[in-house]
């Protein structure tokens, strides 16, 4: 029997993968993918817990997150294209120019 805890473990694992990706990756595009993974991990948790409590607001919130993530990706990809045109690369080491 697959219970809510399985979903949460899956969600936690996905979130961790995304988190490590955000910390370790050097390519901006990969960072985007990592954040998408984290968002979707959270969506799984929302949906699972919403189902567990019989409350629709969890799933509703997941939809919101999907909508926001979609627009974020749209804007973000646009910025990435501009950045790529400017630097010829999306490597964080290359585009770092605000040293303290």
């Amino acid at each position: 029997m697959i219970g809510v805890s399985h979903y949460l473990i899956l969600s936690g694992l996905l979130f961790s993968i995304g988190f490590v990706g955000v910390l370790r990756r050097k390519n901006l595009l990969m960072l985007f993918f990592a954040t998408e993974i984290m968002l979707n991990a959270v969506n799984i948790a929302f949906a699972a817990i919403g189902n567990y409590y019989g409350d629709l607001s969890g799933q509703m919130f997941a939809f919101f997150v999907i909508a926001v993530a979609a627009s974020e990706v749209a804007v973000g990809l646009g910025l990435l294209i501009v950045l790529y045109k400017k630097y010829g690369s999306l490597d964080l080491e290359v585009i770092a120019n605000m040293k303290g």
């Binding site: 988190f19 910390l23 990756r25 050097k26 901006l28 585009i95 120019n97 040293k99």
Partner: protein, 636 residues
């Protein structure tokens, strides 16, 4: 009548604002030189009208508005024009008018001409508040106001550089101004304490309320109030040991010395004692009054002795002012308040005249003050010579001149009270006064023309200035003739002091003795400084090297002692405190700032510009928060 009171009070204020607001930055303006004296003149005319009204109908008491009104404290802006204050108003406005006109000539070439008039008129306004206020708080405001104006005017030539203390005890005008201000601050603290004591125990500062309540107060308290208020008077009237500022104040322009440091402001201390006469004439404070008389006598003698050998023409006049203030305090301390006030008025006229005459001499001699470099000036400065002569005769107290009546009355009072020590001191001082004032006249106007080899080119003051000085000269001659009339006028308000029959009987003898001393003084001065032959003017090395001469020349070493035992230790202490302050207070503040700065300096390396690093930091932070939340959840 009310409007007259306001005109008398505010005309100088308008003048001050006129010169100060509209002409502060512009070059010398004739308009200021005309309008300001005219406004002071208006104030004088209003005072005259008020004096006539007071003489006929009695005191005028007006309340302009509420000033401080909170809780139990209620101090209105009220003005009391009675016999005492109207006398002061007349003296102040008359001398001020003459001095304002005089300043037109004296400050002719000064580039701060307008600023000078702004200050001078502001002084007159403050002085009017001081004398007219119907409560001690208003008096204190005026008291501080004249102090500020005095500071501004002594330091008028603030750009003059400091000189070493050995060369000039008043190091520079700005130094002298600060000295005057700080010494007065010390005394004002005493006065404030007195005012607070009155307020705590009476609950009001209105003169009439305070005077009514005085008999109900404990004796010790009365003595405390009397002492505290007198300390204030000592500072303003430059009584020992707070006297050194007055001679140093001569660094200011001469019209200022004439108006503030001779005729009006310095007499404010005497005025305070006279105003508070219901307090000082009480049985309980007779000790304080006796002390006032004794101190006054001491100062009269002490200052006169220094004037005997002073070389600086303004210092001589300043010391004679100090000496005459001593006379006034002697009279006030002995209970003869109206005589003190009479001498105050007479002194204001002839001393202002003397100072303005000295100013003429200075002006003629290109600001040279050393009388040893003058001599024979009467040929080129006849007008000033006559004025200085009149003023000196009045000061010396020769018969039928103003000083004779008032000073003689004081000396008679001392005899009448049976205080023979005071009496004999005052008689001797009268002789010394005659000597030094004529020494100065003979030195500067008679004898050889010592200025010729030194290349001076003296010339007398403008005609209109000499004409403007005439009222003072007339009063210096004739003021004493009105003594009986004045007595009838003033004793409606002040206790009438009557000589006993015995004293009355030998009054002529006492007067003759004073005159004898004065004549002897003048005669010695004449023989020594204006005579011919071997006795004529010459410097005597032996005398100048003697101990007493050195003592007098260095003003009894009092300024030196102040410098050595107060100023220098204070500088050392200040340096030490500054060090401590640097270490402790500044140290603490600096450490806090430095810690924050260092933390910023260290943490700024975090900002590498690399987004990955930021994200790592953010992740670390997020983890930290989660851990913190978990811990608090477990503990909570």
């Amino acid at each position: 009548m009310e409007s007259l009171v306001y005109i008398a009070l505010f005309a100088p204020f308008v003048g001050s604002l006129f010169a100060g607001l509209f002409f502060a930055r512009s070059p010398k303006s004739i308009l200021v030189g005309v309008v300001n004296p005219a406004l002071i003149g208006v104030s004088f005319l209003a005072s005259v009208a008020l004096a006539m009204h007071v003489a006929e109908f009695g005191a005028v008491h007006v309340t302009m508005m509420d000033w401080i009104s909170m809780g139990g404290l209620n101090i209105p802006f009220g003005f009391l024009v009675d016999e005492v204050s109207v006398t002061m108003m007349l003296v102040v406005t008359l001398v001020s008018t003459v001095v304002h006109i005089y300043s037109n000539g004296y400050m002719d070439h000064d580039k701060s001409f307008n600023r000078f008039f702004a200050y001078l008129s502001a002084f007159v306004f403050s002085m009017m508040i001081l004398v007219m206020s119907d409560n001690l708080a208003g008096l204190f405001i005026g008291w501080e106001g004249v102090g500020v104006c005095s500071w501004l005017l002594i330091g008028f030539w603030y750009h003059k550089e400091d000189k070493p203390f050995e060369e000039n005890p008043s190091i520079s005008p700005s130094w002298a101004a600060n000295e005057a201000f700080i010494m007065n601050r010390i005394a004002d603290l005493g006065m404030l304490v007195g005012i607070f004591l009155i307020y705590w125990n009476v609950g009001s500062l209105q003169y009439n309320v305070v005077f009514d309540a005085l008999p109900n107060l404990a004796d010790g308290l009365l003595v405390g109030i009397a002492i505290a208020l007198f300390i204030g008077a000592m500072g303003k009237s430059a009584q020992f040991p707070l006297h050194t500022w007055l001679t140093d104040a001569m660094e200011g322009p001469t019209p200022v010395s004439a108006l503030i440091h001779a005729a009006t402001m310095v007499t404010a201390g005497v005025f305070l004692v006279i105003r508070m006469s219901p307090l000082y004439s009480m049985e309980a404070v007779s000790g304080v009054s006796m002390f006032i008389a004794a101190l006054g006598t001491f100062v009269a003698f002490y200052a006169a002795s220094m004037a005997l050998i002073a070389r600086d023409i303004k210092r001589i006049v300043a010391l004679s002012t100090l000496s005459q203030l001593g006379y006034m305090f002697a009279a006030a301390g002995l209970g003869a308040y109206w005589i003190a006030l009479f001498h105050l008025a007479a002194h204001a006229f002839f001393k202002a005249l003397l100072f303005l005459g000295a100013g003429n001499v200075m002006h003629a001699m290109d600001d040279e003050l050393d009388i040893f470099k003058m001599g024979g000036l009467r040929k080129v400065m006849m007008g000033s010579y006559i004025y200085m002569g009149i003023a000196s005769i009045a000061l010396a107290g020769l018969p039928f001149f103003a000083g004779f009546y008032s000073k003689d009355a004081i000396i008679e009072t001392a005899f009448n009270e049976g205080t023979y020590l005071i009496w004999i001191m005052l008689v001797i001082t009268a002789g010394m006064t005659a000597f030094y004032s004529f020494r100065q006249v003979f030195f500067s106007f008679h004898g050889e023309e010592r200025w010729k080899p030194l290349g001076f080119n003296p010339h007398d003051m403008y005609k209109y200035v000499l004409v403007a000085m005439a009222p003072l000269a007339i009063l210096a001659i004739s003021f004493g003739w009105f003594m009986d009339g004045y007595k009838a006028f003033i004793t409606k308000n002040l206790p009438a002091y009557e000589m006993s029959d015995h004293t009355h009987h030998i009054a002529w003898l006492l007067g003759a003795l004073v005159v004898l001393f004065a004549v002897i003084g003048i005669w010695i001065a004449y023989r020594k400084y204006a005579g011919k032959g071997a006795m004529a003017w010459q410097r005597d090395e032996k005398v100048e090297n003697s101990f007493i001469y050195k003592l007098l020349e260095n003003q009894y070493y009092v300024p030196h002692a102040y410098d050595r035992f107060i100023v220098q230790p204070y500088i050392v202490a200040s340096d030490k405190f500054w060090e401590w302050d640097n270490k402790i207070v500044d140290g603490t503040v600096d450490t806090i700032a430095k810690t924050i700065y260092d933390a910023g300096d260290k943490s700024r390396t975090m900002q590498t510009g690399n987004l990955s690093t930021y994200l790592n930091w953010m992740g670390a932070g997020a983890l930290l928060l989660i851990v913190a939340a978990a811990i608090s959840a477990v503990i909570g």
